[in-house]
């Protein structure tokens, strides 16, 4: 084993050349676990033996394929893959790893271990993330922002990422260098040709995304409009129940244009989730617009709440700090709806794996819309419902009790009766979205100034004078709760809605009128 450290070769002049070879090299990279990054050390050992490249450390198939990508990229970038036994270990070895982001770290590790990278001093302060193309070009990987955050938290100040991801990484707070090719990265690490650190994405300067339809397009439906405004302002869950074609979907879609922009800390958290999901716009890697997700009702449970062999955030997490709109809610798979109970209560999704539980943030506002029965016309004035009683009851029961309990605002919508069509409520000019959005923004500001969070997240012990709840009001709440048969949880949720109603009115104290209005939107009993 003694000669293992010596590299013998015959020089051009026919002399035996012996140089000391660093057989072991270590580079830094990172892995995604849920929506968080975890630092990963890439150890490369080059030893005598049959030529081979082995990757160990719970490396998934995408990582195994790195062997071929790294080999070709190294060769095509003018480097040499040593004809030795190369072992790559991804530590911690008990963390399952997948994805293509380790390519750069493995390639650089091989170069360092085989003596092709003369200087190693930067390897301990620079994390490497990127997928290699066969020609040596670097390609961006999903989750760069979360990876960069993990790198920063681990005390590593610098990071080399694919050029396209540099803004994303810089936003997370590391000195990020964007390299176009493996060669460029190596020249930087070797100190031959230094790159310039990329700039973080500037907050606030980004435009809002597609804002959906305008409320001015919605005719009548004053109650549902009002409930939507309250829901959006205080992050309360809303359900609209009514016959087909009366504008439930249109109304809910309007919510996108009413949402206030994300606060700075929210933007970072949301961007990380989008980064992991690979949905980030790399030119503008900080999400400023509050998410508005509207998955189709055929969605699988896994796609809704997240999971899968390689855990990906689901729609619930993509709606974090924003809106999750479930149109035709009762058509969703029962187990998918059931899986929403946890995030609705705790604001996160727990995914149990063999290796342990994983928590994904998922604090969204649920906007639901559904028909009252399979045919849709139950309780309707002008059309007969053709459903069996039992079928209609089963249909509504799809919204399970626990889920129903977590709906703060429930509006039963009806088509306008003939005698009122064209009358007062219709001839009024409907308010446009910007007007409502301004009220929502003001109410949101009041909540942040008072308690630093949305009213929907206000814990029950904080229903006190400081938050505008006087003792007589709480007594009234108890009285009303008893009268209408509300559970303590429902009473708490009603109090939070009343707080939002007061905030929309610009009042610091919640009064009986606010409370009674909040109670108007309580869930209807099962048919």
């Amino acid at each position: 084993m003694g000669d293992r450290h010596l590299h013998r070769s015959i020089s051009r002049h026919g002399r035996l050349r012996v140089e000391v070879l660093p057989v072991l090299a270590e580079t830094l990279s990172a892995s995604i676990l849920g929506v968080d990054g975890v630092p990963v050390r890439v150890e490369v050992d080059v030893a005598f033996g049959l030529p081979a490249l082995t990757i160990v450390g719970l490396a998934g198939s995408q990582v195994q394929e790195a062997r071929e990508r790294v080999r070709s990229a190294l060769r095509n970038s003018g480097f040499e893959v040593p004809a030795r036994r190369i072992t790559v270990n991804l530590a911690p070895a008990d963390l399952p790893k997948d994805g293509t982001g380790y390519d750069l770290a493995i390639a650089v590790g091989i170069l360092a271990a085989s003596g092709q990278l003369p200087r190693h001093d930067r390897l301990s302060v620079t994390a490497l993330v990127g997928e290699l193309a066969l020609d040596g070009a670097l390609r961006p990987v999903a989750g760069t922002m979360a990876l960069a955050a993990a790198v920063r938290d681990a005390g590593v100040p610098e990071m080399i990422v694919p050029g396209a991801s540099v803004g994303e990484a810089a936003t997370a707070g590391v000195r990020a260098y964007g390299a176009a090719t493996l060669g460029q990265a190596i020249r930087h690490l070797a100190g031959v040709e230094m790159m310039v650190a990329g700039a973080a994405a500037l907050p606030a300067s980004l435009p809002q995304g597609a804002a959906g339809p305008d409320l001015a397009e919605v005719d009548g439906q004053q109650v549902a409009r009002r409930a939507l405004e309250i829901a959006v302002a205080g992050h309360h869950n809303l359900a609209l129940c009514g016959p087909p074609g009366i504008g439930k979907t249109l109304l809910l879609r309007c919510a996108a244009g009413l949402l206030p922009p994300l606060e700075d800390d929210e933007a970072v958290a949301v961007s990380r989730i989008y980064s992991v999901a690979g949905l980030l716009d790399r030119r503008a890697p900080l999400v400023r617009a509050r998410p508005f997700r509207a998955p189709h009702h055929t969605i699988s449970t896994q796609a809704l709440v997240g999971g899968g062999p390689r855990v990906r955030p689901g729609e619930a997490s993509l709606g974090h700090r924003g809106v999750l709109m479930l149109d035709e809610t009762l058509q969703f798979r029962a187990d998918a709806l059931d899986a929403l109970r946890e995030p609705l209560e705790s604001g996160s999704v727990t995914i149990a794996r063999v290796e342990g539980a994983l928590s994904l943030p998922a604090r969204f506002t649920l906007l639901a819309a559904f028909n009252p029965c399979p045919c849709g016309w139950r309780g309707s004035h002008g059309r007969a419902c053709t459903c069996e009683d039992a079928a209609a009851r089963r249909y509504m029961a799809r919204l399970s009790g626990p889920l129903r309990d977590r709906i703060d605002l429930w509006v039963t919508m009806a088509e306008p009766e003939r005698r009122t069509a064209g009358s007062a409520s219709r001839s009024r000019h409907p308010e446009a979205s910007p007007v409502v959005a301004a009220r929502v923004a003001a109410a949101w500001r009041r909540q942040l100034d008072r308690q630093g969070r949305a009213n929907a997240e206000l814990p029950a012990p904080q229903f006190d004078e400081r938050h505008g709840f006087a003792a007589p009001l709480l007594e009234l709440l108890t009285r009303r709760g008893r009268r209408f048969g509300l559970s303590p949880r429902r009473m708490h949720r009603t109090a939070r809605v009343a707080r939002t109603v007061a905030d929309l009115e610009g009042e610091s104290t919640v009064n009986a009128l606010h409370l009674d209005e909040a109670l108007r939107y309580r869930a209807a009993a099962l048919p």
């Binding site: 109650v223 002008g382 009683d389 003939r418």
Partner: protein, 423 residues
């Protein structure tokens, strides 16, 4: 629960096929049926001696009110029919294998043992067994044809002696229908009139509940045996009805299973027991229309509560009125006048309301409406209107019955004056 819907469909089909309402439009007197109950002479039969045979025969599947009359025509008495053995089945319109087996089993058991068993089980369920021959058999039912040969009755016997009005309607009642049913049930009960209905969900339940709440007497005719209140959700309501001096009636012995025809037969008993029938809300294919048809058959007064002409839930009622089969109910007071009862005393109630609440309640008392409509009518903001309605609801003055439209409740109607500063 599936049974309800299935029965509803069956009832609808029957109505459509035979269309008794339309067919009888010009001849209320039922066509003379030589095989029916009217032409039977029963005075000579000894009630005590006949009783076991009546009860045992009624246990045979297929021996319904019609079949029983045929057997009496053929054999003269139940005892003689029983003696004929399996032959008697030849008299019945439809005989199933089930009937043959059941008859064989009952004959093996013996009529007195059957009677003892049925009486014991009925007593356990809190009821008693009545045959047509019994003096306690409801007099109003002994005029109708076909007539249930054996009845199972729980509660007060004299509930059947007082005049009664049937309040019936669809199970899928709207808020309007529910409010009307409650209003009628309350007025009738306070006028001392017995409210008769089928204890079903929707209109029936509202009428019973209002009658009981007013402390009045109410008779529920069950599609099920006495020991199995159907629908189960109305078990508590049935208990309260009995506590208020009311009664429960069933054509089925305890332990018998419910079938589709039982719902139709129940409806005929309701019409038979009542002096007048009010259909509160019924769509085109409703079981309540079967009750209406029976009312016409039996010569009972038929009333119907009208609905808007575009309201599906009221189309059956509107048709009854249009066909001159039912008289139009303009108000509960008018109905009382029509049946010759005088209105009971109104309990006094006082309400102190804010301006907005008075405005809203005043508007609703003139005409029920949704929040949307009330916005147009009162000019109040959505939020203010929403909170006023909650307060009124908390005080029991309005109810939306789970829908979008708000109706004033009985308590609200009793408030003499509402501050009306609207105009």
């Amino acid at each position: 629960m599936i049974g309800v819907g299935a029965a509803g469909a069956a009832v609808g089909a029957t109505t459509a096929e035979t269309s008794p309402v339309g067919a009888d439009a010009f001849g209320r007197a039922p066509s003379p049926n030589r095989q029916g109950w009217r032409t039977l002479e029963l005075g000579h039969l000894d009630p005590a001696a006949e009783r076991p045979f009546w009860v045992a025969l009624a246990q045979v599947p297929g021996v319904g009110p019609v079949g029983f009359a045929r057997l009496l025509h053929r054999y003269g008495s139940a005892r003689a029919a029983w003696a004929a053995g399996a032959e008697l089945l030849a008299e019945l319109p439809r005989v199933t294998g089930e009937a043959t087996t059941a008859l064989r089993r009952l004959r093996r058991e013996g009529p007195s043992a059957v009677l003892a068993r049925v009486e014991r089980a009925t007593r356990l369920a809190g009821g008693e067994v009545l045959t047509v021959l019994d003096a306690a058999y409801p007099r109003s039912l002994s005029e109708i044809d076909p007539r249930p040969p054996v009845l199972f009755v729980a509660g007060s016997r004299d509930a059947f002696d007082a005049p009664g009005v049937a309040v019936v309607g669809t199970r899928r009642a709207t808020g309007y229908g529910r409010a009307c049913a409650a209003d009628l049930g309350d007025e009738l009960a306070r006028a001392g009139v017995t409210v008769i209905s089928g204890l079903a969900l929707g209109i029936d339940g509202e009428a019973h509940a209002a009658a009981v709440a007013a402390g009045g007497r109410s008779i529920g005719v069950l599609p099920s045996p006495l020991d199995r209140i159907y629908p189960p959700r109305h078990r508590e309501l049935a208990r309260r009805m009995l506590a208020c001096g009311g009664a429960l009636v069933s054509e089925l012995a305890t332990g018998q299973s419910i079938g589709r025809p039982d719902f139709a037969r129940r409806n005929r008993i309701i019409a038979g027991l009542a002096r007048a029938v009010v259909v509160v809300e019924a769509p085109d294919r409703s079981g309540a229309l079967l009750t209406a048809a029976a009312a016409v058959d039996y010569g009972r007064d038929l009333h119907a509560v009208p609905g808007p002409i575009d309201a599906v839930a009221s189309s059956g009622c509107n048709r009854l009125i249009a066909d001159h089969l039912a008289s139009l109910v303009t108000s509960p007071a008018a109905l009382l006048h029509a049946i010759g009862a005088s209105a009971g005393r109104r309990p006094v109630s006082v309400a102190s309301l804010s301006e907005a609440e008075g405005l809203v309640l005043g508007g609703l008392l003139r005409r029920s409406g949704s929040i949307e409509e009330m916005i147009g009518r009162t000019g109040l903001r959505t939020g203010v209107l929403a909170s006023a309605l909650t307060l009124l609801e908390a005080r029991g003055l309005v109810d939306n019955y789970g829908g979008a439209t708000f109706h004033p409740t009985l308590a609200a109607r009793r408030i003499g004056t509402v501050p009306d500063r609207a105009r």
